[in-house]
Amino acid sequence: MTDPLAPGPKGFHTTHWSLVAAAKTEADHARAREALEELCRLYWYPLYAFVRDRGHPSHEAQDLTQAFFVRVFETYGLATADPARGRFRSYLLGAMKHFLANESRRARTRKRGGGEPVLELDALDPEKRYALEPAHSEDPDAGFDREWALESTARAMEALRAESEANGKSETFEGLKGSLTGVELARGETAETLGMTEGALKVAVHRLRQRYRELLRAEIAKTVADPSDVDDELRYLVTALRGVGS
């Protein structure tokens, strides 16, 4: 049985975004579309929040987001994908801005009505999530980055939670997740609650942090062209969060 809290394999060489950016052949395009769709499904909400922050009402923001993804998937989003331009986040934001600037309301409506929706936004209840966010007068671009950062950390957290559940260590995960931000837990009390020694608790915390770190880096790595860019992207997102959060 794999221990979800144990260190996993380190390193990866191909990112989703690099697949998209590097697609040249038909076969490449097929794989690239798959990767792009996955990315869009993962990061739809920051785009939706971005559209909302631009002042569009809820139903209109849903239409625009939906239409944007249709456009991206129809054109494979590859025409403007350029590895030299950096991250998937930047690409997506740039593409959305371009889309918003050029699409008329009618065209968007036509697109939505005439095509199959690529995301079940109603089911995802985007407005409920958006309502959770604090109202702010920040630049929508900064809001987009912040949402992106939240989405990344949440993805990694969900992956870790799923691993723990699969290995029957949900209780350990729930008891120790508070330590992932670097907070020191009350060891004696937590160890007693989880029925482990303090030494074993230290190890579990260490491994949980290590695994989360790997999952988060993997999550970020999906959106950069080169794995070596992960740290830069992490720093950028930290700056985006610190800039508005505190």
Partner: protein, 538 residues
């Protein structure tokens, strides 16, 4: 307006967005994932503790984690080929460098040279899966630190007994030219029969190799400062008195539950050991005898020359506070010892006096008349008795050395530290007999061979034959449970608590007969003889 509430991150203080995953600060989560984020060092023992056991490791099956030393984790393991239970010390992954590997293997090498019941036996060193390991005897009942943790401070006799065992082991270690340098409760192992063994030679050095140092290559002091001597912490040359300091600190910990000097962090501890004087044992614990507190205080003296010079002296000082006394030997050995004393102490001077002065030693004129010849003979006899018993029983180091040459019988461990007799050791045996027996005369070997009762003494003095008979009957009448005589003279003879350790090389004669003696609280000497099959323990 705020669409939702947010709270603050306890780590960075920033407000946490309401939509943050699990209400955890996303910025801290992201920062923790940076390549250069500080990663917490995880102690090897913690990693080991969380390992899934049992598991196979080379030719061993690791069963459980026993603890960790300065350089690795110690497992309880089973040698698969022989089904033998052993303790397996494995060098920690994070410590595996050429330097630490060398020191680790040196530990095994030094420890393997020691073969003593009070020293944890090391079977050997080897490499398993690329990691150096030391295979050693397993201590079934943990360490003295475990005892402290579960029971708190130990009763005085138990603590002293434990340290006497440790001293035995250390004496053997030192005899092989090794200073231990890391004596502390967690390095004293309790075996299944309750005896205590010294172990973990991770910081030991050979006194024969000049470049063996207490410092690592980077100048970092290794070990446990609370139990290390001041000169050891200063990185100066150390000798056996440094280990004696650690023995004292360990005994202090056993009696009080804490080291003699403490601090909030290692630097404070080091400063305290170098500068401060430990608190008085008697103030920390009321049932600690003042004399024992003095013994511990002397061990903990800042200057080495103020401590006990060697283990024998320390052992002698501690012995009265332990729970054991040597048991009387079987009757045959006691009779043998009695005849030996008669031969040396009685027949030899009798022949000499007769040859030089023409006086029979049994002649009453020797004690009643005042002629010059008789006075000289009397002084000569008295001197002989003083010398005899001083050499053979009064001074342990002399007796050990001398008796090895004579009669292959050794006399060890006169405990003269409590209470100290007002007379020199030899004189104790020749104290003036009080009462109506004699008018200021001395009797031969009075404490050993007389009841100190006047009428009976007079009667017994009638002839050498009767005296010899009485001496032997006296030896023979000592029973394992204590004779009437020994009880009367406050020298009860008790059985040892446990006959568990083999004698050290200096406590057994080549004939295997051990004669023991000690001075009781009134200053007289009790003695017993132990057969070769029984261990000597002083």
């Amino acid at each position: 307006m705020s669409r939702s509430s947010s709270n603050s991150c306890p780590h960075c203080g920033a407000s946490i967005p309401a939509r943050a995953s699990d209400r955890l600060c996303p910025a801290c989560l992201l920062e923790g994932a940076l390549e250069d984020s500080p990663e917490e060092d995880l102690p090897e023992e913690d990693l080991a503790e969380s390992e899934e056991l049992p598991r196979e490791f080379g030719g061993y099956r690791l069963l459980s984690v026993l603890g960790s030393g300065g350089m690795g984790v110690v497992y309880e393991a089973e040698q698969i080929a022989t089904a033998r239970r052993v303790a397996l010390k494995v060098l920690g992954h994070e410590l595996d460098s050429p330097d630490t590997r060398q020191r680790f293997l040196r530990e095994g090498r030094l420890a393997a040279g020691v073969n003593h019941p009070n020293s944890l036996y090391v079977y050997g060193t080897e490499e398993v899966d690329g990691r150096p390991v030391i295979t050693m005897e397993i201590a079934a009942r943990g360490t003295l630190q475990d005892k402290l943790a579960t029971r708190g401070p130990l009763p005085v006799p138990e603590a002293v007994d434990a340290m006497l065992d440790v001293i035995h082991g250390l004496e053997a270690v030192f005899a092989t030219g090794v200073l231990h340098r890391d004596i502390k409760p967690s390095n004293c192992f309790v075996s299944s029969d309750g005896s205590v063994k010294i172990g973990d030679f991770g910081l030991s050095v050979s006194t024969l190799v000049k470049d063996d140092s207490y410092l690592t290559g980077t100048g970092v002091i290794m070990g446990t400062p609370a139990f290390a001597s001041p000169e050891q912490l200063r990185g100066r040359d150390v000798d056996v008195r440094s280990d004696i300091y650690s023995v004292g600190a360990t005994l202090f910990a056993l009696l009080t539950g804490k080291p003699p000097l403490e601090g909030r962090h290692p630097v404070e501890v080091v400063a305290a050991v170098l500068e401060e004087t430990p608190g008085s044992l008697t103030e920390l614990r009321v049932d600690v005898p003042a004399n024992l507190a003095q013994v511990v205080a002397r061990c903990l003296a800042k200057r080495p020359d103020q401590r006990y010079p060697d283990y024998a002296a320390l052992r002698s000082a501690l012995l009265p506070f332990g729970s054991t006394r040597p048991a009387p030997a079987p009757m045959g050995h006691r009779v043998f010892a009695g005849f030996l004393d008669i031969a040396i102490c009685g027949l030899l001077p009798a022949v000499s006096v007769h040859a030089f002065f023409g006086i029979d030693i049994d002649d009453d004129r020797l004690f009643t008349e005042r002629s010059a010849t008789q006075v000289v003979a009397w002084i000569g006899l008295s001197t002989w008795f003083v010398v005899y018993f001083t050499v053979f029983e009064g001074i342990p180091s002399w007796s050990n050395a001398t008796v090895h040459c004579l009669g292959k019988v050794c006399v060890t461990g006169s405990t003269i530290s409590r209470p100290r007799s007002p007379l020199p050791p030899g004189m104790v045996l020749c104290r003036p007999v009080s009462g109506p027996t004699t008018s200021g005369s001395l009797r031969m070997g009075a404490p050993c061979y007389s009841t100190n009762r006047g009428p009976r003494s007079l009667e017994l003095r009638r002839s050498s034959r009767s005296r010899a008979s009485w001496v032997n009957s006296d030896s023979c009448t000592r029973s394992r449970r204590g004779s009437i005589r020994s009880r009367f003279r406050f020298t009860p003879v008790r059985l040892c608590r446990a006959l568990r350790s083999a004698p050290s090389s200096d406590s057994r004669s080549s004939s295997g007969v051990c004669v023991r003696s000690w001075i009781n609280p009134r200053g007289s000497i009790d003695r017993s003889v132990r057969p070769p099959s029984l261990p000597c323990r002083v």
